[in-house]
Amino acid sequence: MDIRAYIGLAIMLFSIGIIGVLIRRNAIILFMCIELMLNSVNLLLVAFSKMHANGVAHANPSLASDAQVFVFFIMVVAAAEVSVGLAIIVMMYRNIHSVDINFLNRLKN
């Protein structure tokens, strides 16, 4: 499989995530769109790792494994980020009884 097919798929998923962040107002949906963008980048990292496994890293396969370890760490950070972010959203819902991000502009004053 051509690497460009994987890059194209990752670009599409990433752009859909960006469009979701731009057009939705629900804070939870925005958060989910960010997760979608993280996952498209993960997919791209794994595809590049397998591309290297096909090419330069025949002699030393641990060169190609680095990208997959990176994906593992991205998943770790995403899990920690989701736990804190959802706690913030729940606290915001308890205070203003809404998840609409337009009500958060009171942070300005």
Binding site: I19, L22, N54, F72
Partner: protein, 165 residues
């Protein structure tokens, strides 16, 4: 056209369609379920590239833990179609145009790249044996630091969601 090509395009079509449905569906519960579908197709891609460890971890961590947390919060807040805040039509159109033009720019930049092949179905790069060796030899200190990160995230979530006196 081999079987792997067909599987790749089927998985990609399902992933993109589910992602679009996640963005456009009004009900937050439906959005969460569509995002779980996207994660399963991405796990399918990992299996296709023989990255077995990441496929399993993706299902366990993303589809299993993170999305259940999202679903729990959505149902806890009792969000549904009536309470869903929507932007007006003009801002939505501007967002779609902005994101679509970003996609066009990136895809047109992609057209000029070289053709390099991705290894599918075989190779031991993504096996647990290989990844564990790399993780505990070269990345031991980041691995230990991530446990500190988890501890701080745990304490942070408890402190944030505690009702202040």
């Amino acid at each position: 056209m081999g079987i792997t090509t067909i599987v790749f395009f089927i998985l990609s079509a399902i992933a993109v369609m589910s992602a679009i449905m996640m963005v456009v569906s009004k009900s937050p519960v439906h959005s969460v379920l569509w995002l779980i579908a996207v994660f399963f197709t991405i796990s399918g891609h990992y299996i296709l590239m023989n990255a077995q460890f990441l496929a399993i971890v993706n299902i366990i961590v993303y589809a299993g833990a993170i999305m259940v947390l999202f679903l729990f919060v959505v149902m806890l807040m009792n969000l549904n179609v009536e309470s869903e805040p929507m932007k007006n039509y003009r801002i939505q159109l501007a967002g779609v145009v902005a994101g679509g033009s970003l996609m066009l720019v990136l895809l047109s930049a992609l057209m000029k790249t070289d053709k390099l092949m991705v290894q599918l179905k075989d190779g031991d790069v993504g096996l647990i044996r290989q990844l564990g060796r790399v993780l505990f030899n070269d990345y031991l200190i980041p691995f230990e630091l991530s446990s500190v990160l988890f501890l701080s995230a745990m304490i942070g979530a408890v402190v944030i969601s505690k009702r202040d006196k």
